[in-house]
Symmetry: C2
Subunit: 400 residues, 2 copies
């Protein structure tokens, strides 16, 4: 009897990761939520996989520490490992790949594997930690995670700046990265996204392409960096550069940003969203966003653009009525075109959301059949009966 | 006919990685040394695996860029990937794990695999890039590498400070990391190492435990960080805090540091060195070094201590006469004791040098048999005839 097993965390994943196309047992990990040990001196913490990143950060705050990954509100550490997620702070702190020290994983045959020690770096054997990160529940169930933590910065400044075109905004994001300035966030929002945010939050932000920056560090440093970026923005027709330093105001801004998707729903309440997630080399970002924006503007559907611009990663929320087949098809067409645009620029079909079922069809074009065959060989070696989250990540047509 | 294949880069690896215990063909990769394409705008470069990191940095300098991994002089990018190396700058920029975007790898069956796109982040399937990094030539031959580059900092300051004990020095390194100060290097050298450096380089540095720091960034920032560390050092009996800002003087200091091993040989020319490489959680570093130092001081052999202290990683060079069996045994005994001390502190037997043949015997204690079995399953899936660098990394007693 080979019953499929589908691990289930916060269920905020986007590409059908937690569906059960072959039936089976869904293991809800959300009750395994103990924080097992905090090592303040080592800046690490050992947690069970069901802990949410928001809860974890509440727990860490009094210790002056935080965990810098911020995917969907409700996401769990286990799900975040399994999807190799990132978020707005990845430009500074990296993705889940870079912030996990050690995992405990139950393999399909019942073996309980420890993937590392608690040392910050190690060259002891194959990197099983990174193999599990991004494996989307197809290789085993993550039952314990040791996370690398960061100091809460003593100082942070949020800056916002308006532009005439998304291209100008993207160019400033790129130029900022090139200048060597260390931003901790650089998020791009198009005019449609800003309009949605205004509607959902009763705000009156200028409805134009906008960059939101965060700078951290000591007072002198944050100020110095901010002024450098202001100069770059001015060189690209940026206007209305504003700073926010008051803690509640900053928190509100990031909350609004994090809830951008729901703002979209507030604008068109009966719609669903197709969420795209391409990522391209930084030098191609402005072009990739511009090309995409032309497509989106020409579509009858409402489309919002939001980018983790410092990483070359951007999302669009394409709002469609699921009862209208042609709207669904149109949303798929736009997603598809954007993926192919990104792939033609040496980019990826998924910067951070993962493969699930939705992105399987693009992997061969992105990585080649040899690469997929290698993945399938690893899958078959660790899960010969294909019980772990079957039907995900590896396209069905791959043979070993 | 299953002929073993041993890839061979700069041959600077330390744990017997390039030996051929089962005979076979050694593939010298050092002539594949083209720099294939530099993308200044994306801060990445595509190279063949035989390029050395020193040559690469000479090539990059006029473009204002550099690659921040600095293992043994002579090491090649392919070998550095294969050993998952790091170096003095890892405290700021991470290890090879964090600085490779994409690999091309020839697998044992001849499949040529591309492990990623050129996007900076991606969640597209299993992380084959990280699986190959650290695989020590046991899974395939790396034939092309896309590396992430960094801006050459506009400003850097090197600071040196003297201490009465290695514990004081280690405590200052730890306190510096905890303070959130962003050092780019923090290296600890014991009094024996300093003596060797003085002898080899005609210097007259005070022969006491010493910390060498590097701070980078803008002028204001580097200065601010330096002063903060000076304060921490003063609180731990640090003395003679000196700054070096003149480019040639800084370069000389890092060159001397990089050549520390040869300085050891200058002190005792007819000896060989047993090089140890443990890494522990940061909070245990001072204790681990102190315990080790007692052992070393009590030994008849000359032992030099040198640490990448910000990562919790330290090396000792144990000088012994290979013709004297008891000296060799004594060196092994010291190495062995240090590994076990580190493992008892949740550390690793190898922070950066890798497993080769030398560290195989410690992996079961560090990671458990389940973990090794998983590695062996992966190895068997990708290299069923065990032709790639057989006899390395996975201990021979592991069964699948
Ligand atoms: C509003 C919104 C904003 C978002 N923003 C971001 C963003 O900025 N960046 C980003 O990267 N993502 C973002 N996401 C996507 C999502 O939050 C992430 O993919 C997140 O990592 C999923 O975590 P989860 O706990 O919800 O996982 P789930 O959805 O429950 O599961 C995801 C996958 O992980 C597996 N899994 C879950 N738990 C385990 C376990 N313990 N062991 C093994 N496998 C397991 C599941 O089988 C499944 O394949 C966003 C989503 C929403 C709704
Ligand atoms: C003085 C000195 C200082 C050092 N300092 C450091 C340090 O600070 N940090 C650190 O991490 N290390 C350090 N090392 C160790 C060493 O430099 C590193 O391990 C380095 O990464 C080895 O690279 P290499 O090109 O010399 O590899 P080699 O020694 O040639 O090979 C190492 C392994 O990689 C495999 N390999 C080589 N090329 C390929 C390829 N193209 N494809 C697949 N497999 C391949 C080989 O089969 C072998 O298993 C130091 C060494 C010395 C001598």
């Amino acid at each position: 009897m080979h019953v499929p097993i589908v691990p289930y965390g916060g269920a905020t994943s986007i590409e059908g990761h937690t569906l059960a196309p072959h039936g089976g047992v869904c293991i809800d990990m959300s009750s395994m939520k103990k924080i097992k040990s905090l090592h303040v001196e080592d800046m690490d913490v050992v947690v069970e996989p069901g802990v949410g990143w928001i809860e974890l950060n509440e727990y860490l705050k009094p210790h002056g520490l935080f965990f810098p990954l911020d995917p969907g509100p409700g996401a769990t550490i286990g799900g975040m490992c399994a999807t190799r997620c990132s978020g707005s702070l990845a430009v500074r702190y990296g993705t889940m790949r870079d912030n996990v020290i050690n995992l405990q994983v139950v393999l399909p045959d019942g073996d309980v594997v420890k993937t590392g020690s608690r040392a910050r770096k190690s060259a002891a054997g194959y990197d099983l930690t990174r193999l599990i990160i991004g494996s989307e529940g197809t290789l085993g169930v993550i039952t314990e995670v040791t996370l690398r933590l960061q100091k809460l910065p003593s100082r942070s400044v949020v800056a916002m700046c308006n532009f005439q075109t998304v291209k100008d905004a993207a160019d400033v994001a790129i130029a900022t990265m090139h200048s060597g300035i260390q931003v901790s966030r650089v998020e791009l929002l198009d005019e449609v996204q800003i309009r949605a945010i205004n509607m959902a939050n009763g705000k009156s932000l200028p409805e134009v392409p906008t960059l939101m920056f965060e700078f951290i560090g000591t007072e002198a440093y944050a100020l110095e960096q901010t002024l450098l970026v202001q100069k770059i923005a001015a060189e690209h027709h940026g206007s209305d550069f504003v700073f926010v330093e008051e803690p509640n105001a900053k928190e509100e801004l990031w909350k609004i940003r994090k809830e951008a998707l729901w703002a979209g729903f507030a604008m068109e309440p009966d719609r669903q969203a197709m969420i795209t997630d391409v990522c391209v080399p930084l030098s191609r970002l402005a072009e990739c966003i511009s090309v995409s924006k032309q497509l989106l503007d020409a579509s009858p559907l409402t489309c919002l653009v939001i980018a983790h611009a410092g990483d070359g990663n951007f999302h669009t929320f394409i709002l469609f009525d699921p009862s209208q087949e042609e709207e669904q098809r149109e949303a798929e067409r736009l997603n598809h075109l954007m993926v192919h645009t990104a792939l033609s620029m040496e980019g990826t079909c998924t910067g951070e959301h993962g493969v699930g079922t939705g992105k399987m069809k693009y992997l061969e074009k992105e990585l080649g059949m040899e690469s997929l065959r290698t993945m399938k060989r690893i899958k078959a070696a660790l899960d010969p009966n294909n019980i772990m989250n079957p039907g995900k990540l590896i396209p069905p047509h791959v043979c070993i």
